[in-house]
Amino acid sequence: MSQIDIPADATRPDAAVSDARRRQAAVADDLSDYKFGWADRDDQYSFTSQKGLTREVVEEISAMKDEPAWMRDLRVRAYEAFLRRPMPTWGADLTGINFDDIYYFVRATEKQAGSWEELPEDIKNTYDKLGIPEAEKQRLVAGVAAQYESEVVYHKIREDLEEQGVLFLDTDTALREHEELFREHFATIIPPNDNKLASLNTAVWSGGSFIWVPEGVKVDVPLQAYFRINKENMGQFERTLIIAEPGSYLHYVEGCTAPIYSSDSLHSAVVEILVKPGARVRYTTIQNWSTNVYNLVTKRAVAQENATMEWIDGNIGSKVTMKYPAVWLTGEGAKGEVLSVAYAHDGQHQDAGAKMVHAAPHTTSNILSKSISKGAGRTSYRGLVAINEGAHHSRASVKCDALMLDEASRSDTYPYMEIEQEDATIEHEATVSKLSDDQLFYLRARGINEDEATAMIVRGFIEPIARELPMEYAVELNRLIALEMEGAIG
């Protein structure tokens, strides 16, 4: 796992982070010259330069990418399914989305903020407080988020991957260079007509990661989005496909704790993961989109015999997030886990959770959800645990804890449990509480001010999940919490 080299004289975690950032900025400059990869043929393609979604836009996207006919047909089918299906009325309030007011295919360079000045105040404040150096700020302005490492480390990682035979590409390239493998798995876990937003993604997807890990190969370093070498890290309609062959191991990380500004108001990604027998995949996401974004994501994994799938899901940003990482346990002995952290402040609604479907015997699942609402923020846990007939001797457990910080805060818990197998065991427990007066008193009596005390309690509250994050994320998350509690940002 990649480590930040802590200089001998730096004893505070923040010093280590700023140091790492300086090195990151250097690498970033190197990478920023890369061309994305498709031809620049503006004169021939007119539909995609307009707002709104039509069949022509969908076909044009496919043509611009020079895709095989089957992919184009699939996109069109998905588009038609998108039209047929009404918007979901459960979950968060999505009435603010105007599908006609969106560019469905925009180059990376065109859609980010043009300059530092254009960024919203709250984001600028956060960057300043987090001590982000100038060069890095520019990069974040450009929407390319990453936890960078030094150039040497970066190149070493790419070499290792090649040696092991691991494929790690952006999805567009993967379709071009590994069509058969791609076609075998694409849209088999989330079909084109699964739900409205997944249909939309299937119609207009662009960018995302494709990872194939050969049998028995264990990838030691967490792979991150930026390793794909392109600026489309923050694509609006990313499509990610991960296949872990039997006995392999992979940890994939996306997103970052620093807030990312996006002029796109709708992010609708789809992630499909196939974990073959005995393999293990961990997928970590920290999302901190600016508060104009609707973040509606469909993430689903299949875990086969004795496979393990772990989703670590952190939702900090966006105006509305609807996301329920799912694991279908289709092989005997499969294991699924979701660790979910959600934080909502004024005007935010995090509607997140997990889905576990036990479709084979001796499968186990564990869901841990920790949510925090501050100000008038709203967090909702929404989850499903289903134990199908035949999934004998399966065990499922769900724990949801919610912390409400202020009078106007709101917290909901909507757990669904459906059991069709008599010898399965399901346990679910939820608590909702405010900051403990006792704990606050204790800390304040020791000279710690209220904001810092709150931050400490919140950190303790999410600790079981934060300790599973890569160190850089955990460190930054802690800093972010402190800033949020101070009311200095957000």
């Binding site: 757990p415 459906e418 059991i419 008599e422 679910h428 427990e429």
Partner: protein
């Protein structure tokens, strides 16, 4: 008489014969609302998601609006009450008899036919004030009458019971209300309980049916409203021991004033389909409620139990406990919903659901919801579903207790928590009798036992 689906205004007016004007007007208003509504759609309506309306609720059944002569009402819970208890019997569409012993009548207790009460000069005003107060739209815009099956009862209830306990009157003996259905068709009974401040009483709602003829079916669409005044205490026990062919749809709702206490118990063991909404609105500070539920579903039975508690005032407490077992091809759904409003500071709420699945082919759902708008509260809920634990069974057998006896003991042990919490006399025994009957009928060889834990013991 008209079918539910084809309900006409004339039919509604017909039911209002002899009613005071205000009541006839109310029925007609409800009828108009009913016309504008549609039957629940299980695909769209979250609260009907688990019970397929089109498949389970037969709206072509005709309304039964009169009583039946010469019915041999089975001896049951109400029948076994002591002579000092007030009792009321409804057979099909009419109140057959209502008796209030002199001693308790002198205290001011009223137990009578609801229609008669509405018409009387003595009780008409009270009925007018409270009837329908819990089924029309509530303060925050939500209302039980969103559901067409409730509006239907508002418009066309055919018969009912009225219980009134004046201020500070404590009625020691339980009040027994027995509803017995013999005729196929749709039944629309109504119950109104009004507890003035500091009153105390216990009301049993005994539900039985005995339908003649193969394939005969009855749908009982019931509304029970209970208004519990300041400091008053009400226990309601709804014993749903219907015979086969019967579907029970019920809203049993209470509104609690300041410091009021309410215990509601539902014992669900009979009928083909039960869809029960035991709801409580805590509108007075310091009110407390204890919704308790016991269910045992057998082959072909479908129980959808939806306790819904709304904390609308500060410092109220709620403690929901529902425990049940399933055997054979049966289905139970626990859908608990606790809503805490922004002003409900100091709320303490706990909700627990435990389900034991005894044999293969059963399906149990549990969806305990929480919607919290106030931070200064304590809320929690828990749900667990599983089988009989092999380890515990092993220990009993190791002490020389034969397997079938040990299985019985374990099932009783499972329900003990609920049985112990039943404070109303006679009911715990009756519930226990039902559990025993279920176990007697069980194919003990088919009862599955979770032996995963046993494997660990073997290795130890």
């Amino acid at each position: 008489m008209t079918s539910l689906d084809q309900l006409t205004e004339d039919a509604v007016v017909g039911l209002a014969t002899g009613d005071p004007d205000w009541l006839r007007d109310r029925r007609q208003e409800a009828y108009k609302r009913w016309l504008d509504q549609e039957w629940p759609n299980s695909r769209q309506d979250e609260y009907w998601r688990s019970t397929n309306f089109t498949k389970k609720i037969d709206v072509t059944l005709s309304v039964v609006s009169d009583g039946t002569d010469d019915v041999d009402v089975p001896d049951g819970l109400v029948d076994s009450l002591p002579a000092a208890s007030a009792e009321l019997r409804i057979v099909d569409g009419a109140v057959e008899d209502a008796t209030v012993p002199a001693a308790v009548a002198a205290q001011g207790l009223v137990v009578m036919d609801l229609a008669d009460a509405a018409r009387s000069t003595e009780h008409g005003e009270i009925v007018r004030t409270h009837l329908g107060s819990l089924t029309t739209s509530n303060r925050d815009g939500t209302g039980a009458d969103e559901d067409r099956t409730i509006t239907l009862n508002d418009a066309a209830w055919t018969t009912g019971a009225f219980v009134h306990v004046p201020s500070e009157v404590e009625v020691d003996e339980p009040i027994g209300i027995h509803l017995h259905v013999t005729r196929p068709g749709a039944h629309l009974p109504r119950v109104l309980i009004v507890m003035e401040h500091h009153a105390r009483a216990t009301v049993y709602l005994e539900h039985t049916s005995d339908l003649a003829g193969d394939g005969a079916r009855a749908l009982v669409d019931q509304v029970v409203e209970a208004k519990v005044g300041d400091g008053a205490r009400l226990h309601v026990a709804s014993i749903n021991e219907w015979g086969r062919g019967t579907t029970h749809l019920a809203l049993q709702k209470a509104e609690l004033a300041r410091d009021a206490t309410y215990r509601h118990l539902s014992v669900n063991v009979g009928g083909d389909t039960i869809r029960l909404r035991p709801e409580v609105d805590l509108v007075g500070p310091g009110a407390s409620c204890f919704p308790l539920g016991l269910y045992f579903a057998d082959e072909g039975q479908h129980f959808d139990l939806q306790p819904y508690i709304r904390h609308l005032a500060p410092r109220a407490t709620s403690d929901v406990l529902y425990k049940g077992a399933l055997q054979g091809r049966s289905r139970t759904i626990f859908r608990g919903n606790v809503y805490v409003a922004a002003n409900a500071v100091g709320t303490v709420t706990d909700e627990n659901n435990r389900t034991l699945i005894l044999t293969a082919g059963a399906k149990a759902d549990s969806t305990p919801f929480l919607e919290i708008h106030c931070a200064d509260i304590r809320a929690g809920h828990g749900s667990a579903t599983g089988q009989i634990d092999a380890r515990a069974l092993f220990y009993l057998e190791a002490r020389g207790i034969p397997r079938d006896e040990a299985l019985r003991l374990m099932v009783y042990g499972f329900f003990a928590e609920v049985l112990d919490a039943i404070e109303t006399p006679g009911v715990a025994e009756r519930a226990l009798a039902h559990i025993e009957r279920e176990i007697d009928q069980a194919d003990l060889d088919a009862i599955g036992v979770n032996d995963a834990a046993l494997a660990e013991l073997g290795d130890a």
